[in-house]
């Protein structure tokens, strides 16, 4: 089957033996936007190759081309010395290429084995499959219970199931698009050790990430893209985070935590939460008596391992989920279970964790998505009507100010790259007079430059008197921004720390559930 793909007499052009995948001059255009501009890319046998680049640089597009989701407009793909035409993911899989998407493709009500079996061509029994799952998971350190139902799994575990699925199909080129952005630090560690084992087995990995320290840790070589072009491919030993950042952005940028703001005096209490309790989707109580308050000009950081009630807390605060008991006071007014309308009216902003679900209407335009929270009132509307002229003007302004790259402001936002979607959500939620901002993983999927920018915006908001509740898994982020830090563990809050590195260990312990006499 694979002989037919050999280019006629073109063996001279074939890549060397140790290159398992070669891209030559890949061009992919989308209605005007050149997402990939004659990209050359080599993946060697047994290497972990990172793809790095600003939001919208064309990384996802490139791996989609490799995985057969997009057809390149021109260019060649060589796999193991033969030129191939990858017209579908099925074809990619048959060539030994597998990809883990950010949104998983698992059936929640099925068990892990059942999900794995779904992807297999033929199998004798579920028991056999379960055996194989166990083997693979032991071999590569992908620990997961084969008989657990998928809906019970954490995000990290689901990701492992996706990888197991691919490995069972004998994939030897594994593509991971921003795999760590959804993981806790511990899960990231586990993923990395899996990747290392895969590498030792002679498999090759393409890995996309915005986190420079991760890239420096795990990859052998790094390819940096900017505006659809490959800027350079370097070996890890020959580079530094600073140099990578410079290649990405095209100019010198400061890395690491921005200067800690001088401690200011805080104003009135804006958000006050007392003894809050709420149930999760599975009918289990996930918030078990939370009390805290946030003042004007203050950033309260909530650290914690994902799945300890952060999502539910955010949802209760913004009015998307009912509290079963307790009160939420916003500027002294009881807004408990009053719905999201009241929250918005009182000047609440919300950067959701899942921007695709709670952040945007995918088929509506940029303009229409930008007015989502403000369309009710003048100047965005007059009486029953929207003021589209005004909306367009504001959109132009925001697109410029937050440098949102898009094929056009009247285009559906589903065409935006991940990071640009995030910018759009942030632009919308931070504009106007925001009294209280609930920021949940605000830098999710953002490149280094954009991350700095968001930090700046959050600090600006704080300086202008906004109260900010920052929920994040990334301790660096929490320490950089917060004035106070609390830890959430199993639906309760612990401690109240200043952002001082000396508390790092204690906070880490609390996150892991070592309570040690701390009172909730």
């Amino acid at each position: 089957m694979r002989t037919g793909e050999l280019i006629r007499g073109g063996d001279a052009k074939a890549p060397p033996q140790d290159v398992v995948l070669r891209l030559k001059g890949i061009v992919k255009k989308f209605s005007g936007v050149v997402a990939n501009d004659s990209v050359d890319f080599d993946l060697k046998v047994g290497e972990i190759h990172a793809l790095l680049g600003e939001n919208g640089a064309g990384k996802t597009t490139l791996v989609n081309v490799i995985y057969g989701l997009y057809q390149p407009d021109s260019g060649e793909i060589w796999i193991r010395g033969s030129k191939v035409n990858i017209d579908s993911p099925a074809r990619a899989l048959s060539l030994g290429i597998g990809m883990v998407h950010q949104s998983f493709t698992l059936v929640p009500s099925f068990s892990v084995v059942e999900n794995v079996a779904l992807g297999l061509k033929g199998f004798s029994s579920l028991r056999v499959v379960a055996e194989k799952v166990k083997q693979i998971s032991e071999l590569y350190g992908l620990s997961v219970d084969p008989y657990a139902k998928v809906w019970q799994l954490s995000v990290g575990e689901m990701q492992r199931v996706e990888i197991i699925k691919l490995l069972l199909r004998d994939v030897d080129i594994l593509i991971l698009d921003e795999p760590t952005s959804v993981l806790t630090p511990k899960e990231t560690r586990a993923l990395f050790s899996t990747l290392k084992r895969l590498k030792d087995e002679g498999k090759s990995v393409v890995f996309i990430s915005h986190k420079l320290n991760e890239v420096m840790e795990i990859s052998d070589r790094i390819t940096v893209m900017r505006k659809g072009l490959v800027i350079n491919t370097v070996r890890k030993e020959d580079t530094s985070p600073g140099e990578l950042a410079k290649m990405m952005v095209g100019r010198e940028i400061s890395l690491g935590p921005s200067k800690r703001r001088s401690s200011t005096s805080f104003g009135e209490v804006v958000l006050e939460v007392k003894d809050l309790e709420a149930y999760g989707d599975k009918g289990i109580k996930v918030l078990r008596g939370l009390s805290f308050s946030v003042r004007e000009g203050e950033i309260l950081g909530i650290a914690g391992v994902a799945g300890n009630g952060q999502r539910e807390l955010a949802e209760v605060l913004v009015g998307l989920r009912r509290a079963s008991s307790g009160v939420v006071l916003f500027d002294g007014e009881d807004i408990t279970n009053k719905g999201s309308m009241v929250f918005i009216e009182k000047g609440g902003g919300f950067i959701p964790e899942d921007r695709k679900r709670f952040g945007v209407a995918p088929n509506l335009s940029l303009v229409e998505n930008l007015i989502l929270k403000s369309y009710r009132k003048p100047p965005f509307s007059k009486g029953l009507f929207l003021d589209l002229d005004y909306a367009n003007k504001v959109a132009d302004f925001l697109i410029e100010k937050y440098s949102i790259q898009s094929p056009g402001k009247d285009m559906p936002v589903r065409l935006l790259s991940g990071g640009n979607l995030q910018r759009l959500v942030i632009a919308r939620e931070l504009e106007g007079k925001v009294r209280l901002l609930i920021a949940f993983h605000p830098t999710f999927g953002l490149d280094v430059g954009a991350m700095e920018f968001v930090y700046e915006k959050l600090l600006e908001a704080k300086a202008s008197g906004t109260a900010v509740l920052l929920i994040a898994g990334d301790l660096d982020e929490i320490f950089t921004l917060s004035d106070r830090i609390k830890v959430i563990y199993e639906g309760k809050l612990y401690g109240d720390f200043p952002p001082d590195e000396s508390y790092l260990e204690t906070i880490g312990m609390l996150m892991a559930g070592v309570i040690n006499g701390y009172k909730a």
Partner: protein, 353 residues
């Protein structure tokens, strides 16, 4: 290896491409239908010529086309509204019946003596309310119990048609009607003024309504909410939109339009309620809404064209001695072609080796 079809989702679909696909689907349906006629030994080309000339060029035929155009387009507009919010109202037929029944109640039993300039607006309003009431049953059930509106609206269609039959076979039957299942004729005051032949003043209403709907959807806050909810209900919730209220309101207005169509139809054409007075306008309107790709202006064109085809089919029965079922066959073929066209619009299809 053989040749395979490859489906690649389209990134963006231009309006002109949509129009092109829509017209080709209709053309395709005409072609398939021609084959059918050919197989039954008829000359398809002359049949189409007859159909077209009759439906659009001859006075009587054009009258028939316009008469059908009015209810078809108004119900279609109502469906477009609901479909925008991804509420699959397929109960246009029942809502149309309810509008007609309410009109009859007012015209014959409650206010037969009112002046027409009071009575006609009153009936229009009553028809609207009745249709809206009927569809909001499905709306309320959907909003508060999560009941599937497809099933509920479909069931309500049966109830409505049977209820109407119950009346025209029973207490509303015209005593002087030789036992036919129909009511007495409306008083003059409840008949719409005639413009030309069978064409009544109601013929303008679709045009006005389609403009209003376009403005509603594109320019108003409410239309914006409908589009956001239709696209992503979670984000709508997050933006403080009231989904329950909007579900009920949208269903109400959607069915209200069908009820309005019923009132206009019965005052303009039928002038009485009778057994099976609708040749399935409510169902055909689903095709109209789909073919027009939820564009209110396109609804006018599509429903005018389809009405013409149906009138043309009627004349075929007479001239070429084809059975009435040709209309249904054609509708089926057309619906099929529309669905195929939909696939072409969603995906770029190419042949690969």
């Amino acid at each position: 290896m053989g040749i395979k079809l490859k489906f690649e989702p389209r990134v963006r679909v231009s309006k002109s491409f949509e129009l092109f696909v829509m017209l080709s689907s209709i053309l395709m349906a005409l072609l398939v239908f021609a084959m059918f006629m050919f197989l039954s030994g008829k000359d398809a080309l002359s049949a189409y010529k007859t159909m077209f000339l009759w439906a659009f060029m001859r006075k009587v035929g054009l009258e028939g086309t316009l008469v059908k155009f009015v209810p078809l387009s108004i119900i279609g507009l109502g469906l477009v509204l609901a479909f925008k919010m991804k509420l699959w109202n397929i109960g246009g037929e029942g809502q149309f019946y309810l509008g007609a029944m309410a009109s009859t109640l007012l015209a014959l039993f409650l206010f037969p003596n009112l002046d027409s300039f009071v009575l006609i607006p009153l009936i229009v309003f009553a028809g609207f309310l009745a249709g809206g009431f009927w569809s909001s049953i499905a709306g309320v059930l959907r909003a508060y119990l999560g009941a599937d509106e497809i099933v509920v609206t479909l069931m309500l269609n049966y109830i409505a048609t049977l209820w109407s039959d119950y009346l025209v076979y029973g207490s509303w039957k015209d005593p002087a009607g030789f036992g036919f299942p129909m009511t007495a004729i409306f008083p003059e005051s409840a008949k719409l003024p005639v413009l030309w032949g069978k064409v009544h003043v109601g013929v303008f209403s679709p045009i006005i309504l389609s403009l209003l709907l376009k403005i509603l959807l594109d320019r108003t806050k409410w239309g914006y909410e409908i589009r956001v909810i239709g696209d992503n209900p979670d984000v709508a919730l997050c933006a403080g939109m009231n989904i329950k209220k909007n579900t009920i309101l949208t269903m109400f207005l959607s069915g209200g339009m069908a009820g309005l169509a019923g009132a206009i139809y019965i005052m303009g054409v039928q002038h009485r309620l009778q057994h099976a007075f609708s040749p399935g306008y409510g169902y055909t309107a689903i095709i109209v809404a789909w073919l027009s790709r939820l564009n209110p202006i396109a609804v006018l064109l599509v429903s005018f064209f389809l009405s013409g085809i149906f009138v043309g089919c009627e004349i075929l029965q007479v001239i070429m001695k084809l059975p009435i079922s040709v209309i249904y066959i054609f509708q089926g073929v057309l619906f099929f072609c529309v669905l195929v066209g939909e696939v072409f619009i969603r995906y770029k299809i190419s042949l690969v080796r």
